[in-house]
Symmetry: C2
Subunit: 337 residues, 2 copies
């Protein structure tokens, strides 16, 4: 785990700029009301705006004007929220950021269509920033790749829930697409608008991808080992039968241990069968994870991935924006402190 607690105020000007530009951009879309009301509702709920800040910082870190990237940054946030609206339908999630999800507050048709139109809005806004780039089609290309990858990742996630033989490396492939590639896309777009060299863009992409994987691994770790102060029930992933690296790896280690306890074997069988685990099982699963060292191995993966990410940043010339990227990554990873 990252143990450094840093102030994040230096990012406030970027967030402010994003919020005001987002409000202006959304105001361009109001009719038909039945379509755009859910879109406005979504953004009223706020959010950390991690991805759009990444876009602006990446642009600035390669020597570009971050204001040129602000519409692309909003496009990235629209894409992110599009995935949330559609994922919430697929996952039958009733709440998001403490409020009713769109398909619950309105209906499934409205949520499908609101997501779809957000993609169109995102493309239109993206073009305003792309026009500043020397190679504008690179900007749009990164966006389309992000969209394809995030759909691939969501499809894998849904497929894995129906499979009992998901491998650890498949888990990494899934979170890379579902979580990390949107962060990678966010910096790739900013870098292209800032006319980055190939090396700069590549370094930023590796940085964002590795932070994304580290973040998702840590999120999974905290589900089992974190405190319960983040509005999540401890062991929620375990009870939902999620195919996290922690669970997959723990099951594999139990199965290859000839001295494994019967109780542990039964839990692994239940998990493999796709049956839900009860709240009573959560503490046993957590002690299994500890016994087989999966908890410390997960921590090691998080640390390694984070180190790779930061090492990429150091290939860029020093700048406030580069420091901002590091600040943002640390605040993402250090949220337990």
């Amino acid at each position: 785990m990252i143990n450094v607690s840093v102030p994040i105020d230096r990012l406030a000007p970027y967030r402010d700029k994003i919020e005001s530009s987002l409000a202006s951009a959304l105001a361009e879309f109001s009719e038909p009301n039945c379509l755009y009301e859910p879109v406005h509702y979504l953004f009223e709920a706020g959010g950390k705006r991690v991805r759009p800040v990444l876009t602006m910082l990446a642009c600035e870190a390669v020597g570009g004007n971050p204001d040129h990237a602000v519409h692309a940054a909003i496009a990235v946030e629209l894409l992110h929220n599009f995935t949330l609206v559609h994922d919430d339908i697929m996952d039958s999630s009733a709440k998001r950021r403490g409020r009713d999800t769109v398909h619950v507050k309105w209906n499934t048709s409205t949520a499908i269509l609101a997501g779809d139109v957000m993609m169109g809005m995102a493309m239109r806004l993206l073009l305003r920033s792309a026009a500043h780039a020397e190679r504008p089609l690179d900007v749009v290309d990164a966006f389309s790749t992000g969209l394809i990858d995030v759909c691939d990742g969501q499809a894998l996630d849904m497929e894995f829930m129906l499979r009992n033989d998901v491998l650890p490396e498949e888990y990494f492939m899934m979170i890379e697409r579902k979580t990390a590639r949107l962060l990678e896309m966010s910096v790739a777009i900013g870098a292209s608008i800032g006319n980055a060299t190939r090396e700069q863009r590549s370094a930023l992409q590796t940085f964002a991808r590795e932070i994304g994987i580290a973040f998702q691994m840590q999120d999974d770790y905290l589900d089992a080992f974190g405190s319960e102060t983040f509005g999540k029930v401890r062991g929620g992933d375990i009870m939902e039968g999620k195919r996290t690296w922690l669970m997959i790896e723990t099951c594999a280690r139990v199965e290859s241990d000839i001295n494994a306890l019967d109780e542990h074997r039964r839990i692994v069988e239940t998990f493999r069968s796709g049956e839900p685990l009860s709240a009573d099982n959560v503490n046993t699963v957590i002690s299994m994870m500890k016994q087989y060292g999966v908890d410390t191995d997960a921590t090691t993966v998080v640390e390694q991935r984070t180190m790779i990410a930061f090492s990429q940043l150091h290939t860029l010339a020093p700048s406030d924006a580069r420091d901002g990227l590091e600040t943002l990554a640390r605040s993402l990873m250090g949220r337990t402190h």
Copy 2:
């Protein structure tokens, strides 16, 4: 109605090119199988490929190389099919082109995600063609506008089903967005790839938009007055309570007629209330439409819109591609013959 029956063979080379390029493009997308299998299934069912042919012809008609537009043409077809997959969920349609719809054959989540990824695939393919254009961002801009408009149109269509006071001009606004703008987008993209002048592009857009409106009006007309040889039940729209121009206009004329028959008034009240009309009512509704001259007025609108469309074509220099656009429009409008 258009009474001219013309051979459409001259368009076969464009369709062949589109089919072979579509097959190659789809082959680039195969994993995860659970996501792309439904996409491949959709395109196996074939289709008239009207929109991609429009894109290639528009490019050629302004002096461009139609081969440069082929990937954009496929993108347009992907966008069209994306709308069909999502609309079928919203409309709870079980069949499409004689086969199970994606959400019926798989499930709603798969259909949502397959539609979403098709949008990403479309964007990626679009860029290959956009790279040939002098102003590549115009190509992407037309695409994003098409996506936004078609979502707006679908939202209006759903909203109108819940309203009892839809006006005739609102109907035109809805079909313009839901049906006509995708045709308009198809030619706008082709024109931009062919480096059209502003006047050429504008003429092509008006041509496609007017043909789109004429086509939708004719489709509505044929639902009530056509033969039953097209796989549709006569009066299907009437029984579904669709807010077509024919129904809206008929109701308005009955309501403003102080001598209207009680039977007619009762039908109008039922329609206004949103209650379904029975199969027994269909013939009465059709005779109402005739009595109030709505049938001949609809025919007049179709003819006027079609004439406006063709007059736009004549502002372009004569070419095989211009003739091809006329052929395509005639085959679209003349399908009863």
